[in-house]
């Protein structure tokens, strides 16, 4: 599947708005400015997507991921990923006023899952709203490891050569120096459906202008 320049621009804009909703939710949670990168969109073998995740996490760096599967007219995996050594800082910045410091470590994993749940649903919900669709999401799953451990869980491990659409945006909490990223991975059939919905959405928008 190939996106022409206009479609790539339209998909990027849908993703920009979706991640903007996630950034707004994160900003509400941490009361810190959230910086976002330009979305990265590419098609690659699942194995290359794994390599890309490893590269983004930093060589030899363990990452924490919260993963949710989504299903609807298009489906795949949504991931919130950040370096393991920053995870407690992130939890502290979100929950500091609600729980005593000594409880933070105990709650760390559950807190990160809830952060992932809020951010990933904000993104996916925005995509669904923009495209006039409905998406169902699974409960969040907590993962720890390198890119391979994060992306190749369950049935995915069997399909290393499959081409996937990889959508990726970096975020940064400016005052706290915490970086992470949100990624969406879709197989080709889903990516085709996603592209068709984006096309239809653009056509609707243009029809209202003319």
């Amino acid at each position: 599947m190939i996106l022409d320049a206009f479609q790539r621009d339209a998909v990027t804009e849908v993703l920009n708005i979706a991640i903007g909703h996630a950034a707004s939710a994160l900003n509400e949670m941490v009361e810190d400015e959230v910086g976002l990168s330009v979305p990265f969109i590419d098609f690659m073998a699942r194995e290359q997507a794994v390599a890309r995740l490893q590269q983004d996490s930093g060589p030899g760096t363990l990452a924490i991921a919260v993963k949710q599967q989504f299903e609807g007219p298009f489906g795949g995996d949504a991931l919130l990923i950040f370096p393991e050594h920053k995870s407690l800082d992130l939890v502290r910045s979100i929950m500091g006023e609600h729980v005593p410091l000594q409880s933070l470590t105990e709650l760390e994993q559950e807190a990160l899952m809830e952060v992932g749940n809020v951010l990933l649903n904000a993104s996916l919900g925005s995509m669904a709203n923009q495209l006039g669709s409905r998406i169902e999401t699974s409960l969040p799953v907590y993962l720890r490891g390198d890119g391979s451990a994060i992306l190749e869980t369950g049935a995915d491990a069997l399909n290393r050569d499959d081409v996937v659409m990889f959508l990726h945006v970096d975020f940064e909490l400016k005052r706290r120096d915490i970086h992470g990223y949100v990624a969406f991975v879709m197989d080709v059939d889903s990516a085709n459906s996603f592209r068709d919905l984006v096309d239809a959405s653009v056509a609707r928008a243009l029809a209202t202008i003319h």
Binding site: M95, L107, E110, M113, E114, N121, G125, A128, I135, L139
Partner: protein, 123 residues
């Protein structure tokens, strides 16, 4: 205003903790009850009818829509709202059809103040 009862139904312990913390700030005298899933929430409300109920959507077992529908019918006088990360318009439409409110996570003091019919001073 007498002592109010508040029920929080959410499978995330962290989310319940954060919501409870804000409820305690806004309604210091309230009795707060927690349930980790829909069935537990319905049982808790049957045992101790609550004035306010906050229901997550995406939970294992019974989802928040079904739970809210049952609670709405069983407790017509209660103020009930979904409290969810699922911001889809279809979710908000379902909430309206069920006769319950909709509050988007993350939970914040001003959002719950509105739910409780309180006014908060600007930050």
């Amino acid at each position: 205003m007498g002592v109010k009862r508040v029920l929080i139904v959410d499978d995330s312990r962290v989310s319940r903790l954060m919501t409870r913390s804000i409820v305690a700030k806004l309604l210091p005298d309230a009795e707060v009850f927690e349930a980790a899933d829909g069935a537990e929430g319905i049982a808790a409300a049957a045992e101790r009818p609550c004035d306010f109920m906050l229901i997550d959507v995406n939970m294992p077992g019974m989802d928040g829509f079904e739970c809210s529908g049952i609670l709405r019918r069983a407790h017509p006088g209660a103020v009930i709202s979904l409290l969810t990360a699922n911001i889809q318009e279809t979710t908000q439409q379902k909430a309206e059809a069920l006769g319950v409110g909709f509050i988007a996570k993350p939970v914040k003091e001003e959002k719950l103040a509105g739910f409780f019919g309180l006014e908060v001073a600007p930050q």
